[in-house]
């Protein structure tokens, strides 16, 4: 069918379906993912087509969802768990940190726990509290987990499939405010042809590197377009994976541009942006013309939604970061 217009939501749905067709061990678990198809409809029609034993509506208990998913993985299944919103992953935190991330090393490799944890993340949808968080720092700091973000429909489609095929546990973040944005997807391309854990230069440039992931990629691409009008050439890197971090890709770009802006929705304090800044500075100490500039959510809890526009880094704040980097 060649490429086709699709949304991230539909691409994820198609990717899940493909994975379920390819491997009968793939099963989905979560709250309301069955008849309803999930509150974002990412699992729409899958229960109808694959049955209640492969698309499991769970009790309302995230630790239970995570713990039983790990148990299913121990039995040879490949569970894909949906956490309804970012702010509801915390009841499962203990199972994720104490079991999911550690069983492989605890057993000196005897045990594999190929669980994918899908989390619709981030703000910008005018939601009530706990529905707009960017909590990737917690999981990135948890060694034993892999943490990835899709940012567009094309990636969503193959990334979810690769995440399911990966033998390590993967936290799979989905930028909820972009679920319905459209893009071209090649539904025939084999998922295995790309590398889930390598960063992607989505726009080449020469003056400043901008590293970003998930919902911020579009913001940064827009910023790059705006910057171009002012004669500034930004190189935008969609990191896709933040654990592992494709630090080579970032340093390669920074060696060229000499300047780096990291843009994220999460608060900056002790965050992925901090890590990138620390690592890049270590590796590019002599090529950096300016310190790494972080453009991030403010160091506060996510605010009431009427204030979220002021909280989330937007095009202007990214450009401001670029200005600050260029001011050195």
């Amino acid at each position: 069918m060649a490429t086709q217009k699709s949304t991230i939501a539909k691409a994820l749905n198609a990717g899940l379906r493909k994975a379920m067709e390819n491997d009968p061990k793939v099963i989905l678990q979560g709250e309301d993912i069955g008849k309803l198809g999930g509150v974002f409809r990412i699992t729409e029609h899958l229960q109808k087509d694959f049955g209640e034993d492969r698309v499991i509506d769970t009790p309302l208990a995230e630790s239970g969802i995570m713990g039983t998913a790990i148990g299913l993985a121990l039995r040879g299944y490949r569970p894909v768990v949906e956490i309804q919103f970012d702010g509801f992953v915390y009841p499962a935190f203990d199972q994720i940190v104490s079991q999911l991330s550690k069983l492989h090393s605890r057993s000196r490799g005897a045990i594999k726990v190929p669980v994918v944890v899908r989390i619709p993340m981030g703000g910008g949808i005018g939601a009530v509290e706990h529905h707009s968080e960017s909590n990737e720092a917690y999981f990135a700091h948890t060694l034993g987990l892999r943490v990835v973000f899709c940012s567009n429909p094309e990636d969503a489609y193959w990334m979810i499939q690769q995440a399911i095929e990966c033998d390590d546990p993967v936290i799979f973040y989905e930028p909820k405010r972009r679920y319905h944005e459209k893009g071209e997807v090649d539904f025939d391309a084999p998922a295995a042809s790309r590398d889930l854990f390598s960063a992607h230069v989505v726009r080449e440039g020469t003056d400043v590197t901008v590293a970003c992931w998930g919902p911020m990629v579009k913001v940064c691409l827009d910023a790059a377009a705006a910057a171009e009008a002012e004669g500034r050439s930004l190189e935008v890197i969609d990191l896709r994976s933040i654990s592992p971090l494709d630090i080579e890709a970032i340093t390669r770009s920074v060696e060229k541009t000499g300047r780096l802006v990291v843009a994220q929705e999460a608060p900056s304090f002790v965050s992925v942006g901090s890590e990138i800044a620390a690592m890049v500075t270590e590796r590019c100490f002599y090529s950096l013309e300016a310190p790494v500039i972080r453009v991030a959510g403010w160091n506060t809890p996510y605010p009431a939604s009427k204030l979220e526009e002021l909280y989330l880094p937007d095009l202007d704040r990214v450009l401001d970061g670029v200005d600050r980097a260029l001011a050195y």
Partner: protein, 401 residues
């Protein structure tokens, strides 16, 4: 009969498709009635059923009290409908309707004394009303102006809680505080206090709620767990949350559980009154399962046609909490047409007030992002606020120039 080897036929998708429990097999369908254990004082038809244990409590209510309950029910419903329609018109980000659950909440809320404290979820608009919270505080939260910024101490009504289960433990801890204040079992009606901790049917699956049962049991704390079983947790029916009826959960934690008709304001009032009394007098916790129904969507973002049939909703319409109570009041001569009209009028006024106040509601202060993160100064927040302020100012300067 056939030469196909049935055993060798691989099940579809590599699975045996008979392993799931049929929800209907383990728990009555959502449309079922509450069963013989359910305390009901008013039938759906508005007939008063005598009850050895609870008549006394209801009989102690004056006609004014009884009319007051009606007023509560009607005003809260009107408020709720107004909020739903404000959401549809883009004035609110979201609304979680209490439609159908008015009697459960008003009954429980009016059973509370001033010194009692309620720990709500996110749908307790009736309870909030009974505690005297200005409904506009709820509107402000669902409008995204704030996150529920009232002072719990002022109303004995704590923050709305969105993370399922959290509030039961907070309520239990609060009840432990009441014990330590010596405000249990003194016999002083103005001193002895208790807590109501709310949960939904879905919420009973959550670890926090079960830990709250453990703590309350072990410490014999004055907390009444008030579970509104509205039959649905978004799209999931009771059978996906528990194999046994909810009120039976309590026994295994060492305290009584009671199922009450949550669409019967008198029963909800009576049972909650009895359980709060029990708690205040030092006899410990209890679990009330108010058997009711979520007549509306889960929230305004939800589309229940995806998962439930309208016939079920029709059955529950016949059990409407307000209709049956009105019928009884009229039949008993406690209220007349004039009274009902006056309440209708008041409801209209409330609706108009809520609409006007919502549309005219001021946006939040931008400082709210930073100013109440900590009580005492915090360098990183202060630095961010300074950066933010300078950044904002740079636009003003730019625009001014």
């Amino acid at each position: 009969m056939s030469d196909i080897d049935v055993a060798a036929t691989p099940p579809v998708g590599g699975m045996d498709h008979h392993v799931s429990v049929d929800p209907a097999a383990v728990e009555p369908r959502a449309a079922a009635d509450g069963g013989p254990d359910m305390v009901q004082l008013l039938t759906p038809e508005g007939e008063r059923i005598p009850h050895a244990e609870y008549d006394e409590i209801v009989d102690a209510l004056s006609h004014d009290d009884l009319r007051g309950l009606y007023r509560d029910l009607v005003l809260v419903r009107r408020f709720d409908l107004e909020a739903t329609s404000l959401q549809r018109q883009g004035e609110l980000g979201l609304w979680a309707s209490l439609l159908g659950q008015e009697a459960a909440q008003i009954g429980a809320g009016r059973a509370m004394r001033k010194q009692d404290h309620a720990f709500p979820g996110y749908r307790e608009h009736g309870l909030a009303w009974a505690r005297g919270l200005d409904p506009m505080r709820l509107i402000a939260m669902y409008r995204g102006v704030d996150k529920g910024a009232w002072d719990p101490a002022e109303f004995g009504f704590h923050s709305y809680t969105i993370v399922i289960g959290n509030q039961s433990l907070l309520g239990t801890g609060y009840a432990m505080g009441i014990q330590r204040d010596g405000a249990v079992g003194t016999g002083d009606d103005a001193r002895d206090a208790a807590v109501i901790a709310c949960m939904g049917d879905g919420a009973t699956a959550q670890g926090d709620n079960n830990e709250a049962f453990v703590f309350a049991g072990v410490y014999n704390s004055p907390v009444v767990f008030f579970c509104q079983n509205n039959q649905w947790a978004i799209s999931e029916p009771n059978a996906r949350q528990t194999r046994a009826p909810i009120y039976k959960r309590a026994d295994g934690f060492g305290f009584p559980g009671i199922r009450v008709d949550g669409n019967d304001v008198l029963a909800s009032y009576a049972v909650t009154t009895a359980m709060l009394d029990r708690a205040r007098s030092g006899d410990g916790p209890s679990l009330i399962e108010a058997f009711t129904y979520r007549m509306a969507a889960h929230t305004t973002s939800d589309d229940p046609t995806k998962y439930r049939i309208s016939a079920e909703v029709e059955i529950w319409k016949l059990r409407d909490p307000i209709a049956r109570y009105k019928r009884w009041l009229a039949h008993e001569g406690i209220a007349d047409a004039e009274f009902f009209d006056a309440i209708e009028q008041e409801a209209d006024e409330l609706g108009e007030h809520v609409r006007a106040a919502t549309v005219g509601m001021a946006d939040p202060e931008v400082g709210d992002i930073f100013d109440q993160v900590y009580v005492e100064p915090h360098q990183q927040v202060a630095d961010d606020k300074a950066t933010f302020t300078a950044y904002q100012a740079s636009f003003e300067t730019a625009e001014g120039a």
